[in-house]
Amino acid sequence: MATTSTPVTHHGGQHAPHASYLEDPQYRGLMSWLTTVDHKRIGLMYLWSVLTAFLLGGLFALALRLELLTPKEDFMTAETYNKVFTLHGAVMVFLFIIPAIPAALGNFVLPLMLGAKDVAFPRLNLASYYVYMTGAIMALTAILTGGIDTGWTFYTPYSTTTGGAVTLMTFSVFVLGFSSIFTGINFVATVHKLRAPGMGWFDLPLFVWGTYATAIIQVLATPVLAITLLLLAFERMFQIGIFDAKLGGDPVLFQHFFWFYSHPAVYIMILPGMAIISEIIPPFSKKHIFGYRAIAFSSVAIALISFIVWGHHMFTSGQSQLAAVIFSFLTFLVAIPSGIKVFNWVATMYRGSISLDTPMLYAISFLLLFTIGGLTGIFLGALSVDIHLHDTYFIVAHFHYVMMGGTVIAFLAGVHYWWPKMFGRMYNETWARIGCILVFFGFNITFLNQFAMGAKGMPRRYYSYLDQFQGNHIGSTVGSWVLALGLFIAAGVLLASLRKKYDAPDNPWGARTMEWETQSPPITHNFPNNPVMQHGPYDFDAPAVRRES
């Protein structure tokens, strides 16, 4: 299996002239990791942490799907089911998807792409990791001491009146928000100040543009969530009437606050995924990205418009008709930049030289799944149709197509793409592809069934249901097993590669962005010399820059 057929500079492997960041003699032992300010090591620590969260959230999902195999109670009571679906959502959103691409892959790749030695504030970077771990431990404590059954959305007044460890969980999410803000601040400063000489804004790889737009949302929107959750916690602790109608508050106000953060947060999750796809399609097509500026500007446009569409989560909440109409209109506007990106990615493949290595296979999966996710959004933007579909499985399917079919598939694409750079090893290409194909089909079986039953009127968050929906539920559960099998194969393939000696070339995919100009895995300070911008990130005509050694 040829992993690549492009000319590469074979400087990696045991002939590496410098020790890599993984085995730098200056930094050895556990303490060197726990106190590291190296963005690559922090990125790796984040990677293992978010993957653990993904495993946990995934096991919750499999348990939910198993319970839903039959219409009646099987092995979970209603209370247990409610706790498990809340944990699935909260763990996946706050502990996995939000930090997954920026904090894990972004941390590793972004400074390398800019030709920088590190991020602008390395200590803040480490702090962000410890803040994340603190939040994660608080969340774990909340799960073990009573759990929570509010749904990841914490809607009031249910969340202010139910039992369990809701207050601790809200503080956990509050703390996690700060880790996200720290990462955002760091990336904004890094992109502004640490670009290699000669690298202008329009020479930035699109991954940097996407991550930059994400960072801006993180910095601007996360504080709103923090304040909202603080108010919620205060209401629970001190009986202040902000959201609870019994105390004179307004429960719908909570939804406004919550979605004012959480809708932009949807783009905190998807923009980095899109950014990865923009990075992968060009080298595997050996072609310059089509419409660089359109993709870059659409990231920024999405970031801005995403702040003013939150009300489309609330068409049935009792908000005024006028508000609903305005939010519906704005929602259709935010759809356009995402559509533009899809067309640009497809056009990049036109007359290219396409190889279907695992990262590209994931990228094509992304294109197909994200397209379905985006197109089904049109149903939900249309007012009259959304009234029917709101809070049914149609919504569940739609956001899984965007969040999982989009972001998680892009994350997997990115992990497979940068794995040789991060760990210096190539993985087994055949098995990695088998994993990818199983993930693709398992995902579609799982969630196409959910579209079908949602349109027929199957509400979400039900632990038992009417008999008529059982066929789709069985299909969905079987799909979840195929999906899980694919993911376990992918994990096995990647982990197995770590037992090998370094065998990854510097630039296995023949890419033109700067992270491939240093050795695999890179040295502690990234580049032996200060790299200078010599060609654009997608300039496949220019000769590859050879690393000085």
Binding site: Q321, S328, S353, L367
Partner: protein, 313 residues
């Protein structure tokens, strides 16, 4: 094409449902068209431009303004069509005609109660005349709920601090399922109701004498029906397992201990009081969360439930 629509959507109970379905199907065709376009292009490019050697000649084009404008503007125009279409039907769906029959609806964990203009109340079942607009004025006693009628393609949240409204007019007599679509805790999945659309004469008769099919039903049979339809089943099992409330299996005639320490015999009077004033006696080990059924069950219906409990040996 109606088979194609039925593949995606539940039966239509109102003319509004038909209007919503038209837009739904329009978007289905848009979705299929765009998906085939994109998937087809990807498939074609992958086959046609598959890498043959490291020195493949590749295209040089990096952007094309006309093309980019085309694929921005056409989707934008289509989106605007969908927006206005959805907006138009939404306005008819949310503004009720002035002559609508007004029915008050209360949601609470985990039952729906309907109150008619003449003061009669009904639990979990809404009887309405066909061919007449019906407006629901809704409120919640506790947390958020949402009243979803899939066949009518409408839903609206039910809030604790303000009234929300929705309306429908069904010309097709029949029974329609209602489900709660705003998560509300343990009994959320069981918070169902039924809307029965009747001919106007049947409706008049119902207002006078209650549901026609129940009048001559044997007590125990009626009790079994009420057990399911009035929300008893959400908390009280009839197979011995412990639910939100005590099981009914083998309960009649037992002595039971209350949270305040009293010992009570489970007899007819105990059951009657438990139904009408549930907080008066709470069995030890359970929370006093049962709502009162005062005014919600006719005398014969209480007798029927007692008879049904007696049968649970």
């Amino acid at each position: 094409m109606s088979w194609f629509r039925d593949f995606f959507l539940p039966m239509q109970g109102t003319s509004h449902a038909a209007a919503v379905d038209n837009l739904f199907m329009f978007i289905v065709f848009l979705n299929i068209g765009f998906f085939l376009l994109i998937a087809g292009l990807i498939g074609y490019f992958v086959l046609r431009y598959r890498r043959k050697s490291a020195h493949d000649r590749v295209g040089k084009v990096t952007h094309h303004l006309g093309l980019e404008l085309t694929w921005s503007i056409i989707p934008l125009l289509l989106c605007l069509v969908v927006f206005f279409w959805g907006f138009k039907d939404y306005m008819t769906a949310t503004v009720a005609p002035g002559d609508a029959l007004e029915i008050n609806l209360t949601g609470e964990k985990w039952i729906w109660t309907f109150e008619y203009p003449d003061g009669m109340r009904s639990l979990g079942e809404l009887y309405v005349p066909a061919g007449k607009p019906v407006k629901l004025i809704m409120q919640s006693k506790d947390v958020l709920h949402s009243f979803f009628i899939p066949n009518f393609r409408i839903k609206m949240d039910v809030l604790p601090n303000r009234y929300t409204e929705q309306w429908f007019q069904s010309n097709i007599p029949g029974e329609y399922q209602v489900q709660c679509t705003e998560y509300c805790g343990k009994g959320h999945s069981g918070m169902n109701a039924k809307i029965v659309v009747m001919s106007p004469t049947q409706y008049e008769d119902y207002l006078q004498n209650g549901p026609p099919n129940l009048r001559s039903m044997p007590l125990a049979e009626l009790g079994a029906l009420l057990y399911e339809s009035r929300g008893c089943a959400t908390c009280h099992s009839i197979n011995g397992t412990k639910g939100q409330g005590p099981t009914w299996t083998g309960s009649f005639g037992n002595m039971r201990k209350m949270t305040d320490g009293r010992e009570m015999m489970m007899d007819e009077n105990y059951i009657r009081t438990s139904i009408l004033q549930p907080q008066a006696m709470v069995v030890s080990g359970y929370e006093g969360i049962m709502p009162t059924y005062q005014g919600l069950l006719r005398d014969r219906e209480i007798l029927a439930l007692i008879e049904f409990i007696k049968k649970q040996k």
